[in-house]
């Protein structure tokens, strides 16, 4: 792996973090409308997984989808504009945080329906199989989402037909206010792989290199026509479920402590420096670059117009 590889991983993670911090700030100020779910603390997952994908590959995302969208290659200015509800956003302001998508890079959409993405990703994989390409499709899902029936229907279909789709579980221990273990019959979501005769593996989801390596295996397997896998990323939801969540169901100290010890960006930075993969200067360069990019994205969003009422009926039907 060369410098660019590491720099790209770092850049993506830091881009997500910086984007999310801005979103949090403007959301708390009430300038971003609607529900916003932040990806802070889980950046290594989207980054490491998507580093294995091209724009011809697909991802299906969740309600917590900004990180996936960025990692798949979307531009932060058009994303920011979308979140502000502006006409220049990816969805012309019709989608917002829970419905952001960039089809030009194979990002098939965030989804406000928890567990809504499994079957769609499976269908995209089916399409690629019928078309006989090597493209794959990845579906991100939470621990909570793993209890939706769509998980079962999609994974069984994908496994029975050996479709090129990878199921990436972001086990952040919480589903909204509910600790996943109180509603989920297994500790490791990945053991569910056994019920479909597919591989299921556990990954430290806060270690971007491990995420990259292990998801690479699953993705390569899919590309080779060997079917789906479950890759379970162990992580923790650092922020409230949504911006503004009073989080009365857990203690902030505990969460902050674990975050300090296990921030995926801090950890990666340490690895980079320790192993002399990137220099401090190089890292600072990236930080500067991204800070500027995100500032520009905010400016773009703020200066963009809201959609006009006359656009209401646009994009409803084609024919």
């Amino acid at each position: 792996m060369d410098k660019h590889f590491y720099a790209d991983l770092y850049r993506t993670m830091y881009r997500i973090r910086t984007f999310e911090k801005k979103i949090e700030e403007f959301s708390l100020k009430g300038e971003i409308p609607g529900f916003v779910h932040l990806y802070i603390g889980e950046e290594a997952i989207a980054t490491g997984v998507c580093a294995n994908l091209t724009h011809q590959d697909y991802i299906q995302s969740t309600h917590r989808g900004h990180g996936h969208t960025i990692a798949k290659g979307a531009q932060t200015d058009r994303m920011m504009a979308e979140l502000f509800g502006k006409k220049t956003g990816y969805c012309k302001g019709k989608g917002g945080s829970m419905h952001i998508a960039d089809f030009s890079v194979g990002m098939l959409g965030a989804n406000g329906i928890v567990g809504g993405g499994y079957t769609l990703a499976t269908g995209a994989a089916l399409a690629e199989k019928i078309k006989k390409t090597q493209n794959v499709s990845v579906v991100f899902f939470g621990d909570g989402a793993s209890n939706r029936g769509t998980f079962h229907e999609a994974l069984n279909m994908a496994a029975a037909w050996k479709l090129p789709v990878v199921f990436v579980c972001e086990n952040n221990e919480w589903a909204s206010t509910t600790p996943y273990q109180t509603t989920t019959s297994v500790k490791d979501i990945s053991v569910r792989a056994k019920g479909y005769d597919v591989p299921g593996v556990i990954v430290d989801g806060n270690n971007v290199l491990e995420v990259y390596e292990v998801s690479k295996e699953a993705i390569d397997r899919a590309r080779k026509g060997q079917g789906p896998s479950i890759v379970e990323m162990k992580t923790l939801r650092i922020k409230g479920h949504y911006v503004g969540d009073p989080e009365m169901y857990r203690t902030a100290e505990e969460v902050q402590k674990r975050f300090r010890e296990n921030d995926p960006i801090t950890r990666f930075e340490a690895t980079l420096l320790e192993n002399e993969l990137l220099s401090r200067k190089e890292i600072d360069g990236i930080i500067r670059e991204i800070d500027e990019e995100i500032e520009a994205a905010v400016k773009f969003a703020l200066e963009s117009p809201f959609p006009d009422e006359s656009e209401l009926y646009d994009d409803l039907y084609i024919d």
């Binding site: 829970m98 419905h99 928890v114 909204s176 206010t177 989920t184 009422e309």
Partner: protein, 325 residues
């Protein structure tokens, strides 16, 4: 009379009924630890324990299906849907099981359960968290559908729904939760299911509405009153099967009808109300029936578009004015 919020009113209803009858329990996502996204279950676990206030997995078919099964086993379950938008997931359980079990098994059993479904627009909730889908259920025999428009009815109607032996969908509008209003402290505050209410009497035109849109209907009536029109406003309360008699009687008196709901106009409940009147009382009508409802698009995210989508008071006012030209 004391004033409490709509949300508190539903909470009181739950408490009183659960105290009265220990076969009642509630289940849904994030209701116990958090008390519901809108505070509508707050504190219930303290009174009734987590055996009767149950946080479920994100498994909507299991929530509704197991509520049905528990009803078959003699309980009176209340199932919370989190957002009405998620009812699509459970439609099979709702229309092929809950609605039909009593009938297709020849009356051997009953399904005394309530589905609570928070619906309607909420500031930029966007396409999947803002919908009003009550119209689907009008075409489904075997269920009753209700929707209160104020705190007092919210309480009385929820109590009545819980006591009913029929399966009931209780749509509660998200924007109404914070609204306050007088609610009697009388324990037997019950709103009769199947009966509409004349919320405001008038002689020149009838507005039929329900849920959050009642606010607009009453506001429109005020505005029109000042212009000299006497407006009768009917709150349907029960949406399916709805109280045709009260609507028809009103129209026979006023000779004019406007129906207003927040749901998409096309294919909405307004069509059914209009059709019943066009069948039963067309000769009494002195003007076209007018329907006011949301535009025929998914709910857009951006505030400007959401505002364009939303049905508004002035549409009611303009509609009624046009009936007198």
């Amino acid at each position: 009379m004391r004033e409490i919020t709509f949300s508190q009113a539903t909470l009181e209803a739950m408490k009183e009924e659960m105290q009265r009858d220990d076969t009642i329990f509630v289940m849904g996502e994030d209701i116990a630890r958090q008390g519901g996204i809108f505070g509508q279950f707050k504190g219930l676990p303290d009174d009734f324990g987590t055996d009767r206030i149950i946080d479920t997995p994100i498994s909507e078919t299991a929530i509704i299906g197991s509520a049905i099964g528990a009803a078959l086993a003699g309980m009176r379950p209340v199932a919370d849907m989190h957002f009405a938008d998620f009812m699509g997931i459970t439609m099979d359980e709702v229309f092929n099981q809950m609605a039909k079990i009593r009938y297709m098994f020849g009356g051997q059993t009953k399904i005394p359960m309530v589905i609570r479904a928070p619906d309607g627009l909420i500031r930029s909730g966007a396409a999947q968290h803002s919908q009003s889908i009550e119209a689907w259920f009008n075409n489904i025999p075997g269920i009753k559908v209700v929707a209160p428009s104020n705190p007092s009815d919210a309480k009385g109607l929820l109590k009545a729904a819980i006591r009913s032996d029929d399966p009931i969908i209780y749509f509660e509008n998200k924007d109404l939760y914070r609204q306050s209003g007088p609610v009697s402290e009388e324990e037997e505050l019950l709103v009769e299911i199947g009966k509409a209410k004349v919320a405001r009497a008038g002689t020149d035109v009838t507005i039929v509405s329900y849920s959050v849109m009642m606010n607009n209907a009453l506001e429109a009536a005020e505005i029109l009153e000042k212009e000299g029109y006497s407006v009768e406003v009917i709150d349907l309360i029960t949406l399916s099967p709805f109280d045709e008699k009260t609507v028809i009687e009103s129209v026979k008196k006023t000779h004019r009808l406007l129906i207003a709901h927040e749901a998409v106009k096309k294919g909405g409940l307004g069509g059914e109300v209009a059709a019943v009147v066009a069948e039963e009382a067309i000769d009494y009508l002195d003007a076209p029936i007018i329907r006011v409802g949301a535009k025929f698009t998914p709910v857009p995210f951006s505030p400007t578009l959401e505002e364009a989508y939303r049905p508004k008071t002035h549409e009611i006012v303009d509609g009624i004015r046009s009936m007198f030209i």
